[in-house]
Each structure stands twice: as C-alpha cells, then as structure tokens.
C-alpha cells in the first residue's frame, strides 16, 4: 500500500514536471516580450494553439515528415509573431502599456476566431514523436516516451536561449534593449528590430510548447488559453522578466497542480494553479526570484 502510494506520487510528479516544462517555455515567451517592450503579450496563448494546429495539419492531414513539420510550424508561428509586431503593435498610435496589452488581446481574438473557422472546434490528436510504449522507471512509475521528448526539448530550448542571450551579439543587444531602451539605441542597436525579434522568438517558443504537448493532451483552436494563462502565472510566480524564475515557476506550478489534481480532485486542477499563484503573490509579491520592478522615471 505504501509502495503503491509513493508510486502514485512519483507518477504525479513526472506528469507535473512535464506540464511544468511546458509552462516554463511559455513563461519564457512572455518574459522575452516583456523585457523588450514592457507589455504582457496575450497573443502568446494563440501561439501555443497555432503551434499545435499547424503540427496537426502538416503531420496528420498532409502527411509531412515529423521533423520538417516541426521546423515549418515553428517558423510559421514565428512569422505570425513578427507580423503582429510589424503590423498593429508598431503602428499603434499610442505606446501606452495598457493600450498595447489590450491590443494583444484583440489580436488574439482575431487569431482564435480565425483558427476556429479554419480547423473547427474539435479536439484533434497528433501522433507521438516516437511511439507510445511506456518505459518503466525505478520505483515502479512509468513514463511515456513523449514525456521524455518534452523534457529533452525543453532543456535544449533553455540551453539554446542561454547561449543566445549570453554569447551572441544579437542576444546581448536584446538584453541591452531590455535594460534601457534609450541607452541601447544610443549605442547603435536598432531597438525596433530587437522588438521584432522578440515577437518572432516568442512565437517560436509558443509553437514549440504547443507542438510538444499536443501528442499528450490533444490540441484544438483554443487549447492555448489555459496553457498560456498558466504560463503567464508561472512567469509571475518566478518573478516577471526573470528567466531562471520562469523555469522554477513553471516547474513548481506544474508539480503542485498535478499533485493537487491527483490527491484532491482533478476538477480542482485549474483552480489550484491560480490559488498557489495568489498565495505566493500575497506572501512574496515580487515572485520567488523577482526583485520587483525598479522605478522608471
């Protein structure tokens, strides 16, 4: 009995880590745009849905090779992200943060409505990247190969982001823009281009999250809303704008949610995630790893 229980817990934790990895990727997407522009980009939710649906269309409907589909979907959503910046965001006559945030909500409604027109409202499945045979782990918990793919791809994405932001000139330029836009512009960084890249990056990240979770939980035109909002919650939980915090926030949220769903009731799953968030905001309003935002005059 005790063995059974610990086995169950292990299972919940594995599921929690998987979903937490997804939240972490989404949170990264939120952070990148936040650091570049100071806004919350709610279209991030739609990037996730689009990633999943593009993958579904290419793999299931057009029978395209998996790797090619993955790259095509990612590029496609990155382009949509870029278009959002080039179009409405750049041409908005007001740069007021509230206006821009609501603009992203308007954009996401347009995308969601269009996606529903194109793909309908049904949930659709996407095949796993490498079969569904469960792998038995030490201690008796099992893991499906897709979970391993989620971990592997998440770690890879994190490493690549780290390399990009720490080592490459463009990454450094984006960080400089995040710290101080005007100073960055003075050193010859094209700030507008950095903002454009940040939207494309977030699009790609959202798409990756949507694609790797699709084989586990199926996908639909609005699957990204809850995932996206919880990714946002993970970003806030870790400290908004903080990259290590995004990973930590995602994992904590995923694991607690999974444990809560398993031990209390699966109905309470969504409420638990947001309850944890409110609790943390109440106790440590800056998030686990955040310092709060410094005053900008």
């Amino acid at each position: 009995m005790i063995m059974d229980f610990s086995q169950q817990i292990a299972q919940y934790i594995i599921t929690g880590l998987t979903i937490g990895a997804i939240y972490a990727i989404v949170a990264m997407g939120f952070n990148i745009i936040h650091n570049a522009t100071g806004i919350v980009n709610f279209a991030q939710c739609e990037f996730i849905s689009l990633g999943g649906m593009f993958m579904y269309s290419l793999v299931v409907l057009f029978k395209v090779n998996l790797v090619v589909s993955f790259i095509l979907s990612m590029t496609g959503v990155a382009l949509i992200g870029a278009l959002i910046e080039i179009g409405p965001i750049r041409h908005a006559r007001s740069k007021d943060i509230i206006i821009l945030i609501f603009l992203t909500i308007g954009i996401s409604e347009v995308i969601r409505g269009s996606a529903q027109e194109i793909w309908g409202s049904d949930n659709v499945g996407v095949p796993s990247f490498s079969g569904d045979a469960p792998i038995h782990l030490l201690g008796g918990a099992t893991i499906v190969p897709q979970h391993i793919w989620v971990f592997a791809i998440t770690v890879l994405v994190m490493l690549m982001l780290r390399y990009f932001f720490k080592r490459t000139l463009m990454g450094k330029a984006m960080r400089a823009t995040a710290v101080n836009r005007r100073a960055a512009a003075l050193t010859g960084i094209c700030v507008n281009r950095m903002i454009l890249f940040s939207f494309a990056f977030s699009g790609a990240l959202g798409a990756v999250a949507g694609m790797i979770i699709a084989p586990i939980s199926t996908t639909s035109y609005d699957t990204g809303i809850m995932l996206g909002l919880k990714g946002f919650a993970a970003a806030i939980l870790g400290g908004y704008g903080n990259f290590a915090g995004a990973i930590l926030g995602g994992i904590i949220l995923g694991v607690l949610e999974s444990l809560g769903a398993g031990l209390i009731s699966s109905q309470y799953k969504d409420a638990i995630a947001f309850f944890v968030l409110l609790l943390v905001l109440f106790l440590k309003p800056t998030g686990i790893m955040g310092y709060g935002e410094s005053e900008r005059v």
């Binding site: 603009l103 409505g113 027109e117 919650a233 109440f282």
Partner: protein, 321 residues
C-alpha cells in the same frame, strides 16, 4: 460661457436625467429596454473600472469576479437565508470591498503587471467556485428565484421599472465617481496618473491610493452585480467568466480612459455591437477582435475623443497651411 464650461458636467448630468425620464415615452419595445438595462449595468461596472484604469493606470482582468460576487452575495443571502434585499446588497458590496483589498494590497504595492495576474487568477478561481460550491450557488445550473427589489410598496418587476431603477443607479454612480474625482482623492489620483514619482515626492501615498481606488472599483461592480441578480432573478456562472472581464475593460478603453462620459459611451456601443454581432454568429469573435484592434491602433484615446481630435487637428492643419 465661463459658467457653462465650469459646469458642463452638471449640464451633462441634467441631460442624462432628462433623457432617462423621457425615453420610455418614445421607446415601447420590451427588447430595447432589456438592452438598455444591460447597458446600464455595464456602465456602472465600467465607471468604477475607469477610476482604476484611467486614474491609477492599472488593469484588472478580474472584474467579472467582483460583479459575480455582488450577484451571488445578493442571490445566496436572499434566496437561501431569507435576508432582506437591500441589506444583502450592502453586505455584498462591503464583502467584495474586503476581498478586493486582500487581492489588491500585495499586488499594487509593486509596479508592473502583478495586478493583472492577481485579478486574472482571482477571476478564474471565483468562476470555478461558482460552479463547484453547488450547495450554496446552485452550481452550473445556477441560482433561481431571486426576488425583485422593492422600495416601500413599489416592486421592480418589469423591464420598464428596472430601467428606472438601474439608470437611477447609473446616475448615482456617475455622480459619485465625479465627486470622488473632484475631491482630494481625485486630485491625488490625477497626480499619480501624471507622474507617480512626482506625486510621491509631494507626499501622496501612491500605493495606498491605488489600493483604495481598486477596492472602490470592485464595489461599483458588486452593486451592479446585485442589481443584475434582482433584475434577471436568475444567475449562473456563465455570466461571470474571463470574457466578461475583458469586455468591461474594453468598454473603458474604447470609451476613453479617464473619461466618465466615455465609459457610458463605451458600455453603450460595445453592448450594442455584441447584440448586433449575434447575427454574425461564428464570425462574432473575429469581428469583435478586429473592431478592438482598429480602435486601439487608430483611436487609442477612445472613440469620442479620437474622432474629436481628428477633426480638430484637421482644422488646425488647415489654418497652418
């Protein structure tokens, strides 16, 4: 002329009162009254929310929850516990204020988007609890048989009577908002909106004022929610979801942030557009999104002010050339 400018908002209030009183002479259709009542209820929420958005510069994505708390406090207290109606409404308003304080206090101490997340999460939790705590709330089936409000012997049981009741509250809430904005608190809020740092240096406790105005805006929503519950006499969680929260913020922005009359206009036009778009069925979401994007990109100061500025600018350009 001077007196007119100084008191032009009083002129507006008189005009509003006259219009509300004489409108039923011209409008006879029951359907129009239902729409007008919904506009009125939305206006009350939008006016309160505008205090927060337009003057404290903060967004709440959880006002559906405060609206819902008002409805459910009124509904549960009167149906399940036989509370008298008006005290239940007042109690709901106060309780909502306390809840808003607990949510807003930590989030508003910080700059940035913490209130967005806190209210968003709170909205989702409240919406969830409305469905799950079915022994109190009636669950997803909703709560039925909520009594109509009454004053003395007058029972507000028709759309027309509720029209007067709801628009009476619209009038009062706008008057209250105007007086708040013209008071010490309002001056402090406007100072915060101008420059938070400058306001702080002049001894305005900015965090404190932001929390206060957030609580106040939640109470406006609660009152509107109570009125809704007593008007429709049936409430269910579907009316208080995330989309309603977004919709009321949209009303404030489309009407013009920081403009009381703009909120009335925004609530009116968006309620009418939603009604009209029911015809478009599946294209509803797209059309709504496109409308929102167009307004935000081209008329960020709100539709009324945007159009006004457009023409004034044209005129001045003509004069210059």
């Amino acid at each position: 002329m001077n007196i007119f400018i100084k008191h032009k908002d009083i002129f507006g209030f008189v005009l509003l009162a006259v219009m509300v009183i004489i409108l039923p002479v011209f409008v006879k259709n029951k359907y129009y009254f239902i729409v007008l009542n919904v506009i009125g209820l939305n206006t009350i929420v939008a006016v309160g929310l505008n205090l927060l958005i337009g003057f404290a510069g903060q967004i709440s994505l959880g006002h559906a929850a405060f609206y819902g708390l008002g409805s459910y406090f009124s509904g549960i207290l009167t149906v399940n516990y036989g509370f008298p109606l008006w005290p239940a409404m007042l109690l709901g308003m106060l309780a909502t204020g306390v809840v808003a304080y607990l949510i807003g206090y930590p989030a508003l101490k910080l700059r940035g988007h913490y209130l967005v997340m806190a209210t968003l999460g709170f909205g989702i939790i409240v919406h969830f609890l409305m469905g799950e705590l079915d022994q109190f709330t009636g669950g997803h089936d909703g709560l039925m048989g909520i009594p109509h409000l009454s004053v003395g012997g007058l029972l507000f049981d028709t759309d027309l009577k509720n029209f007067y009741l709801i628009w009476g509250f619209v009038f009062l809430s706008m008057l209250a908002a105007r007086n708040i904005l013209n008071s010490r608190v309002g001056r402090a809020l406007r100072a915060i909106h101008g420059s938070e740092v400058a306001a702080n240096s002049l001894g305005v406790n900015t965090a404190d004022y932001k929390v206060k105005v957030f609580v106040l805006s939640a109470m406006f929503a609660s009152v509107s929610g109570s009125l809704y519950a007593h008007y429709i006499t049936f409430i269910s969680p579907g009316s208080y979801d995330f989309y309603y929260s977004i919709q009321v913020v949209t009303m404030v922005i489309v009407g013009g942030m920081g403009s009381l009359w703009g909120s009335l206009f925004g609530a009116g036009i968006l309620t009418l557009i939603s009604e009209a778009l029911h015809v478009a069925k599946q294209y509803h979401v797209i059309a709504y999104g496109v409308f929102l994007c167009l307004v935000l990109v081209f008329l960020p100061e709100g539709i009324l002010a945007g159009i006004y500025n457009f023409f004034v600018r044209k005129k001045t350009q003509k004069l210059l050339t």
